[in-house]
């Protein structure tokens, strides 16, 4: 008797996968002349507010540079992928973009991704990378030779804040409030030493779980320490409003400060009345800054009529620096390898960012150690400058 048997087995599943792989193996045809800027961007997920801004910033600058004819006649092409701020999705995006394009520059979305991809970057040696991270660990040109960051690292940010405090109120008491994550713990140990050196007393260090909602016990701890200044780090918004609000109600006289990711105008203003006097360090100018020597800000306001976050500024600066590095490397007649591009980056001295940063910048190590103290002005609903531009040596 004739038997009709259709087989079963696990193989049936992987055959289409293999077929898809074979189809995908052929790389997309592209103009060999294009310079490619790849990006693992957190367009969704917990970091989406920043990712959307970063994406817009890079897109706009790429448009500006291409409208000017590109870099030495070569167009800059931006190839983003959404990662939802997950490291394995970021790495997948990196592999996808690099297998389909000849990538020269890359923007990474997190410290975790920057550390994970470092080995691969060093192995291939043809991509220069920056990202959203300001982790102190990444500011090491020996360990991370193909990477740099778009501002001061977190320890340097704390340094700028502590120097400001030491000038305002010598011998003041400071409290560190940080989240129990790699992001939060990053600058604490080294900043303790900096504070001691500046003659400041670290009254207390409070560590909270990253997603904490109820911080009443921590506020009591803060009240007992009675610091003159409290520096928050490792958060985006929550639980800072709880700290500030409850602290004010308990009669705490401390002044509150934050680092880069807590300093966006929209997040600070969400605190309402409690935001008054909230300070922090920011390496960039804000979107609404009407400074006379900021032609780029004027251009950004023309392109985007509504408020753009600090993430936008960071993405914009990333594309700007990448373009400058490409130009310098090609001008020197060198190939676009990571080593050559990093050398070009290191050679950037007193570079004018078109007003994005208030002073001409120089890359030191893997960071740009410059920043300004800003203060929240609730009446104007804006962050206003509270100090001059500080450049760390």
């Amino acid at each position: 008797m004739k038997r009709i048997r259709i087989g079963s087995g696990l193989s049936r599943l992987l055959a289409p996968l293999g077929l898809a792989a074979a189809l995908a193996a052929a790389p997309a045809a592209q103009a060999a002349e294009d310079l490619v800027l790849g990006g693992s961007i957190p367009l969704s997920g917990v970091f989406a507010f920043a990712g959307q801004g970063i994406h817009a910033g890079i897109t706009d600058y790429v448009k500006i540079i291409n409208d000017q004819g590109g870099i030495k006649g070569r167009k800059l092409r931006y190839v983003p992928e959404d990662t939802a701020y997950k490291v394995d999705a970021s790495v997948a995006a990196f592999k996808k973009i690099t297998s389909q394009n000849k990538v020269n520059f890359y923007y990474g979305d997190s410290t975790g991704f920057s550390k994970t991809i470092n080995a691969e970057l060093n192995r291939t040696g043809d991509i220069l990378m920056t990202g959203a991270s300001f982790a102190t660990e990444l500011n090491d040109p020996a360990k991370y030779p193909a990477q740099f960051m778009l501002g001061p690292d977190y320890t340097e940010m704390f340094g700028i804040l502590l120097r400001y405090i030491a000038k305002e109120q010598p011998g003041a008491k400071v409290a560190f409030v940080y989240s129990d994550t790699e992001f939060g713990r990053d600058p604490i140990a080294s900043s303790r030493a900096v504070a001691e050196k500046l003659g400041l007393k670290v009254a207390t260090e409070i560590m909270t779980p990253p997603g904490s909602v109820d911080v009443s016990t921590e506020v009591i701890k803060l009240r007992r320490a009675d610091p003159d200044f409290t520096i928050f780090h490792g958060y985006v918004l929550a639980p800072i409003p709880e700290f500030v609000g409850q602290g004010k109600r308990m009669g705490l006289k401390t002044r509150y400060m934050g680092t880069f990711w807590t300093m966006d105008n929209s997040t600070v203003m969400q605190m309402g009345e409690d935001a008054e006097g909230f300070m922090g360090v920011m390496p960039y100018r804000y979107y609404y800054d009407q400074a006379a020597d900021a032609p780029m800000l004027k251009k950004i306001r023309e392109m985007r009529p509504q408020y753009q976050s600090t993430g936008y500024m960071q993405g914009f600066l990333a594309a700007m620096l990448f373009s400058e590095v490409a130009k310098r490397t090609l001008d020197a007649g060198k190939d676009l390898t990571a080593a050559n591009m990093k050398a070009a980056l290191d050679g950037i001295k007193d570079f004018d960012t078109g007003g994005l940063i208030g002073v001409p910048i120089t890359i030191k190590g893997n960071s740009i150690p410059v920043g300004r103290i800003y203060r929240a002005d609730v009446k104007q609903k804006q962050m206003v400058p509270a100090s001059d531009w500080i450049v760390l040596k």
């Binding site: 038997r3 009709i4 048997r5 259709i6 087989g7 079963s8 087995g9 696990l10 193989s11 049936r12 599943l13 992987l14 055959a15 996968l17 293999g18 898809a20 792989a21 074979a22 995908a24 193996a25 790389p27 367009l43 969704s44 997920g45 989406a48 959307q52 994406h55 817009a56 897109t59 931006y78 983003p80 992928e81 959404d82 939802a84 490291v87 394995d88 999705a89 790495v91 997948a92 592999k95 996808k96 690099t98 297998s99 389909q100 975790g112 550390k115 994970t116 080995a119 192995r123 660990e137 129990d180 994550t181 790699e182 713990r185 990053d186």
Partner: protein, 345 residues
């Protein structure tokens, strides 16, 4: 249709794959697994390795939750234990890769045995909550112990096999996939043995199992130990693959990922773990591909990306509504159709 599959020996009856068609398909599977790396680009190789690691871990979780009925949310913690063990041994001792993976599995197994002790008193959802403790304890240890690199974690040098560094996805594929295949076959064989049947008996009614003479203490702990051994080896492979291990690499959400993988794939079946792991890993990437095909520009990508996350969630919910027994049941239904054709039932 499939007929005349009567067996004449017990051995033949016990076989995992008994028909010639199955053997042919398995041979094709083996061939495609061997040939795949030569035709795939870096992206697909990366995904294949990631899927293999997830399959190994999901299989372990299925042994515990699907077959023994002990809901566990500690899978990521055990993977972390395995990953850190491998990282520490590779960094400080420089021992061979397979020894490191074995050690990772054993350390994770010890952790699993410890976490499994409450299972003798608490059941169901309450056990799940007590296994969450594993995640927090593991995270605390990893983040605060200088030996494990503190919050910045450890950078793992590439696995070294026969004098060659496995530093690309192509090279490490040849480590990850054979190990995963062995583990999956081991798990499949486990449920032909007395131990496997004891697990299933515990899941179905543990009091009856005890009455039948299955010592609950022994077998529940064995289930935890075995499942966390699988997680430990998967974690070790993870460490060699990503080359960076931090306390934040194994959050609670990863345990939920694996639980979702086996629920969507089908609890209580090896095929379910495989399908579930593939589904959970590949569908988000596949949705990104679909979005890439849409004729929209860069700015639309910004708006569509969050929609993708919603679609993924809806797909999970959809699969559970239309097939509560998981993807494995859909697979079996399709197979039954072909076995019975031209008849319907």
């Amino acid at each position: 249709m499939r007929i005349a599959t009567a067996k004449q020996t017990y051995l033949a009856d016990e076989a995992l794959f008994d028909t010639r068609t199955q053997h042919v398909w398995l041979a094709l599977l083996a061939a495609s697994l061997v040939l795949f790396p030569f035709f795939a680009n870096a992206y697909w190789l990366y995904l294949a390795c990631l899927v293999a690691i997830n399959i190994a871990s999901a299989t372990g979780l299925n042994i515990l939750t699907g077959y023994t009925g002990l809901v566990s949310l500690g899978q990521a913690a055990f993977m972390g234990l395995g990953a850190y063990t491998v990282a520490v041994m590779e960094l400080h001792l420089g021992t061979p890769v397979l020894l490191n993976l074995l050690a990772g599995g054993i350390v994770a197994m010890l952790g699993g045995l410890l976490v499994g002790i409450p299972s003798l008193r608490v059941k169901g959802l309450y056990l799940a909550i007590s296994t969450i403790a594993a995640s927090f304890i593991a995270h605390f240890i990893f983040a605060n112990w200088q030996f494990t690199g503190g919050t910045s974690g450890l950078q793992v040098p590439p696995a070294r096999v026969l004098g060659m560094d496995l530093d690309t996805s192509f090279k490490i594929y040849w480590l990850i996939v054979p190990v995963t295949v062995l583990m999956v076959l081991g798990a499949a064989n486990l449920f032909r043995t007395r131990i496997g049947r004891a697990f299933i008996a515990i899941r179905d009614r543990d009091i009856s199992a005890e009455v039948l003479g299955i010592r609950l203490l022994r077998y529940k702990l064995l289930s935890f130990g075995l499942s966390s051994f699988y997680a430990g080896v998967a974690g070790g492979l993870w460490a060699y693959f990503f080359r960076v291990v931090t306390p934040e690499s194994f959050p609670l959400i990863m345990s939920i990922f694996f639980l979702a993988a086996i629920i969507v794939g089908g609890m209580g079946s090896i095929l379910g773990s495989i399908l579930g792991a593939i589904f959970m890993t590949m569908v988000p990437e596949f949705l990104k591909l679909v979005v890439g095909w849409l004729p929209v520009g860069g700015d639309a990508l910004r708006l569509i990306s969050p929609v993708r996350t919603i679609v993924f969630g809806l797909l999970i919910v959809g699969f559970l509504i239309f097939e509560p027994h998981g993807l494995a049941e859909i697979w079996r239904r399709v197979r039954r159709f072909f076995h019975l054709w031209p008849f319907r039932t």
